[in-house]
Symmetry: D3
Subunit: 129 residues, 6 copies
């Protein structure tokens, strides 16, 4: 059922991305409401509700993919928050980015760490020494 | 010590990528031996030997990044093998690729699944129904 | 209804990509059947069945996006065939690629034209002088 | 003739991109005037003046390519304006972006819709419900 | 004059890419002759004939850009040959690729070195120890 | 020795990127200090200290790669400064970007020229007519 996918997608989105995700959907309302619906139904209702990986693993994959794609800073911001929301530690977020280093080079890793810096500051998180 | 990094990198490479990784290094010997040395020292000696993530998590991040970068089929082949070598199940390799779908679109996921298909066939692995 | 999306997606896929598309789905059967289902349900059942653009316009957008992404030669082959199937002339396929030139540079356009060359040869199509 | 290409390129640029395009050229004057000249002569004088596609089709291809490339927000802004200038409806601009979804994934489509949002606001355009 | 750009582009192409470049142009003749003409007029007649950089510097920039773009192996093959043709040593070609390492990561550098390996073998060139 | 690589990397970084580079390292101190250390040890201590290319050639390759990657504006800013620091003229920086045009298309070249414009303004540099 469409409504079934939408319902479970909304719940999953709320669990992962909380307010940040809802803001993305709301911001699409006036210009591309179907796009917001696909985010909920397909990305969250279909993909994020699958079995076989934990939510933490899904977020770790997501931020690795967004870092590598480049130019996805707004989405990276949402999903660094999402990673923390599902229980990944801030240190592990940074470690995930560092693991991408041999495959993507420094610039993309530096850009992702800068987004993490902003998110950590907003959440009053301290990492490192 | 350089030799320390090279030694632990060689061990880690052997643990993760086994023959496939060693073949990559050997193939560089006559044309760019320093590049092979950097793979061992930096990618494996520095990054893969860090704490904070399990080897399985590192491989999961690596194949997510390689899928997203695109055009990295030879490296994806090495690291799908690496993923299986460190104990990720074939089903979980495929599930990792599917998690990238909302962020990268279908073509890159289809390309990665095709490489997995080849690797699974070579290792006599059956997945799916 | 899920089955509704799958049904209309199958019809649309068959209309656009014919045998080539069906082969892609079939090739996923043993390794990632859900991925094949998403191609049908989401790409074809949801997106390709939307109103607001003709099928010819959708294929023109698709091949422009695939050319620009790079490394999507297998998908470009499917959708150059798809473009011809929905009535875009071979000359217009080439012209679409040439329009991408200022935005992507020569290498990606040359790669796409090479795929077109192969498709046109298979279909016994002659273009140019 | 060089001057012939420059002349027809200037006219085409003015037809498509109006003030926005002229501003890009003007901004290059002090730092890279030849680059501005190539935009006019090659992109607009050569490519945009070709036969075989309507101006609306050319703009639709251009914004599909820019969305897919990523990181081209300034150029996307110019060509969303260009799309509207040559008579593509705002709804069709959004629909073009949505057609890219299966091929590029959500982040790039969301980024492009955000640029459209800005352009539509500046032009006092309302879309959606 | 168009013919002036075409003439000097043909000469420059012949100087840089020799037979390999001419083969690319010839292969476009039946399917996209204008694309071949733009390669000559714009890439070689306009850009490669500019002052301010030596031909060796232009080829070094070109192979750095092609390596970074990814998926441009056919063009990389032409321009590794081009680099050697204008007098860049094989060792310097490899060193150029290694300089890209911190910015692009290992996979793209490995892919480029593999193309160099093929070109060097065809030209009977030995590098390394 | 690790400390040897770090020491020579720090010197090279200071020679090339001066304050800008040091600011990048300092900004990583509280969130990802090891990443800063890898920039110094690997990018500058290993790669930038190699023989076979002049520092000017290394910077020219770096800015060509960063332009082509896209989305690396912060790193491009550091290395346009670096290029000027090692003695590349402002005109040659722009010419390097223009050489990338046939391979990357206009948008990436325009984005890079815009970063150069900012750097040149900060350093009170005038180019062009």
């Amino acid at each position: 059922m469409e409504s079934e996918r939408f319902k479970r997608g909304t719940e999953r989105l709320s669990e992962v991305d909380s307010t940040a995700g809802e803001n993305v959907i709301a911001s699409l309302d006036a210009i591309a409401p179907d796009l917001g619906r696909y985010v909920i139904e397909f990305a969250f209702g279909d993909i994020y509700c699958r079995e076989g990986l934990s939510l933490q693993e899904r977020e770790m994959i997501t931020i690795s993919s967004l870092l590598t794609a480049g130019g996805c800073e707004p989405q990276l911001e949402v999903h660094i928050n999402g990673s923390l929301n599902v229980g990944i530690s801030p240190e592990k977020v940074i470690e995930t980015f560092i693991q991408c280093l041999p495959y993507t080079g420094f610039p993309k890793v530096l850009n992702a760490v800068n987004v993490a810096k902003k998110v950590f500051a907003e959440r009053n998180i301290k990492v490192g020494k």
